[in-house]
């Protein structure tokens, strides 16, 4: 059982010396293994900042991040242990894999860094990881540019799972993919989450998938959590005007279809 707690986290960015921009304002929540929390909000609402703070690519200006009650270590062995527990899938699969290295390299590195399996079993583990994300084992010697977007994102997911983490941050994992393969990748994520009892922070701007794939939804606007609750409650009965605005902004096929039909008849 792994628990990640963000306590009163704020993040200020300095813009050109004197000006400051408050990207996150007093955000608190708890992510537990086995649960999926969706973080929704429009671009610039601070979603990715939360991801960066959790993965320690950025440090919070104030507040604390606790893994099982312990603050994130700054460096050394302890930080590496934290990185083994908390992993991330990036938004753009075309940018998140090093174009110079093979798929094997990408999957092998976390295995070696975190001593997941004995050195002799690394090759077998790489193949096993590829099979877990439904990729053919003969892709191992390929380079990212030879793979499609969906395949690359599966590799990125395999890389994240390689260290056998307790928690996963998925930063808009399907927004850069073809519409036709989004569902496949999301279903894979959901399945892996169940299998490994992962805690997932699913960052998205798509309310429909947020509702479908998560237990809880948090709505973020300008760095402030404006609404949170069980997924169905937030979508079906939004309390905050921003949430309502978000919901109404996403295209609903039934409504759209009815409208165009009406328009053509008139």
């Amino acid at each position: 059982m792994t628990t990640l707690e963000l306590r009163n986290v704020s993040k200020k960015y300095r813009i050109r010396g004197s000006k400051e921009m408050l990207a996150l304002d007093d955000v608190s929540f708890t992510l537990e293994s086995g649960k999926t929390i969706a973080l929704v909000g429009q671009s610039g609402s601070g979603k990715s900042t939360i991801a960066k703070i959790i993965t320690q690519l950025e440090t919070a200006t104030s507040g604390s991040v606790l893994l099982d009650g312990v603050p994130i270590p700054r460096r050394g062995r302890a930080l590496r242990a934290y990185r083994q527990q908390v992993r991330m899938v990036f938004q753009d699969p075309f940018a998140s894999l090093n174009p110079y290295h093979t798929i094997r390299h990408h999957l092998e590195r976390p295995l070696r860094l975190h001593h997941v399996v004995p050195v002799a079993e690394i090759d077998a583990e790489v193949i096993r990881l590829l099979e877990r994300v439904r990729l053919a084992p003969d892709l191992v010697e390929r380079r990212p540019h030879e793979l499609s977007g969906g395949q690359r994102q599966r590799v990125a997911i395999a890389r994240a799972l390689a260290s056998r983490p307790g928690l996963l941050v998925a930063d808009e994992p399907v927004s850069m993919l073809d519409v036709s393969i989004r569902l496949g990748v999301l279903n894979l994520l959901a399945e892996l989450q169940r299998e490994s009892n992962l805690g997932v922070l699913y960052i998205t701007h798509d309310l429909a998938t947020a509702r479908h794939f998560s237990d809880e939804i948090m709505v973020l606007n300008s760095g402030v959590v404006v609404e949170r609750g069980a997924a169905d409650d937030v979508i079906l009965n939004p309390q905050h005007p921003y949430t309502r605005q978000l919901r109404d902004a996403s295209p609903n096929p039934d409504v759209l279809f009815a409208k165009t039909k009406g328009a053509s008849r008139a």
Binding site: S96, L113, R142
Partner: protein, 324 residues
């Protein structure tokens, strides 16, 4: 590229190191680079086997054949002392190539260390390294080299190369810093950090391969500059005139009023310098095309147009007649 790579993996599993090795050199696999490298290869062979090929001792004085124009006995003529100029050029190649490449290697090492570090660290450290680079950029290279070289009675090849490197690394460092800064924020570097990769591995394994083309082109640029500087030094007589290189030949030609009548004395040496310069520039263009695919496709478009009878240099938009 993807086609060949796919074919390879489908056939037999190839060792990882073999493939990265080959792909590391794929920037040299185009017509321009190959032409440049071939010319360089010829000069490298001359540098290695020069003493075996040279028909005469470059210092041998033959007072019976002084100031001779090219003949079958002396293919590039002789000096005022009857020394064979072809032999001087062949023997002189070694000095030019060694100093050029040695200082290119030194300068590239400094440029990578300073440039990549300045690009990866942030804040005051980066600014300090950047300031250092800028200082070396504006240091007037040649006068400094002349002052340093003239302090030594008989400066060794390594010393000359080192001095040329110290005055010549700054451009490479500048370009590498910019490139590293843009790489640092790319997702795959962030992903490596989330992996828990140590800093040295992020720089050496994740970043450096992606900087290879920039490093290679800065190396080529430094070699060109070093060869020019070294021949200049020999020409103005700062380095000992008894060590043969192409600049030394020009020094003797100049001091014996060879210009303009005794063309065989100064022209071949000058052409050799120009030829090596062209070869290095071609390699650089080849790398540029590899790094910047837009140039590559521009080259291909131009070739395709020429095949259909258009000149790419005509200002007008070419419209092919496809009616039949």
């Amino acid at each position: 590229m993807s086609v060949t790579a796919t074919g390879v993996t489908d056939a037999v599993p190839v060792s990882v190191s073999g493939r990265s090795f080959r792909e590391g050199f794929s920037m040299f696999r185009n017509a321009k680079s190959i032409t440049g490298l071939s010319i360089l290869a010829v000069f490298t062979l001359l540098a290695i086997f020069g003493p075996l090929i040279a028909p005469y001792d470059p210092d041998a004085i033959d007072l019976l054949h002084r100031n001779e124009a090219p003949t079958w006995g002396h293919l590039l003529g002789t000096t005022h002392m009857g020394q064979d100029i072809l032999s001087q050029i062949i023997i002189g190649t070694r000095g030019v190539m060694i100093v050029g490449f040695l200082s290119g290697i030194f300068a590239t090492i400094i440029a990578v260390l300073v440039g990549v570090t300045a690009g990866y660290v942030a804040g005051a450290k980066s600014e300090a390294l950047s300031a250092l680079t800028n200082v070396f950029l504006v240091v007037p290279g040649l006068p400094l080299i002349i002052i340093v070289a003239s302090q030594f009675e008989d400066p060794s090849v390594v010393l000359i190369a080192a001095v040329l490197a110290i005055t010549g690394w700054a451009w490479g460092a500048r370009v590498l810093r910019a490139q590293t800064m843009s790489l640092r924020n790319r997702d795959f570097i962030q992903a490596a950090r989330v992996n828990g990769e140590p800093l040295y591995r992020i720089i050496a394994v994740e970043m450096l391969p992606n900087l290879l083309a920039v490093i290679a082109s800065s190396f080529v640029g430094t070699v060109t500059a070093a060869i020019l500087a070294q021949t200049t030094l020999a020409f103005v007589g700062v380095t000992p005139i008894s060590n043969w290189n192409w600049g030394t030949i020009l020094f003797w030609a100049q001091s014996n009023n060879a210009f303009p009548d005794k063309w065989w004395w100064y022209l071949p040496a000058g052409l050799c310098i120009a030829l090596v310069g062209v070869a290095l520039a071609l390699v650089n263009f080849g790398i540029d095309e590899y790094v910047n695919p837009r140039l590559r496709s521009a080259g291909m478009r131009a070739r395709a147009l020429r095949k259909r009878g258009f000149k790419p240099s005509d200002g007008a938009t070419a419209v092919a007649d496809t009616r039949n």
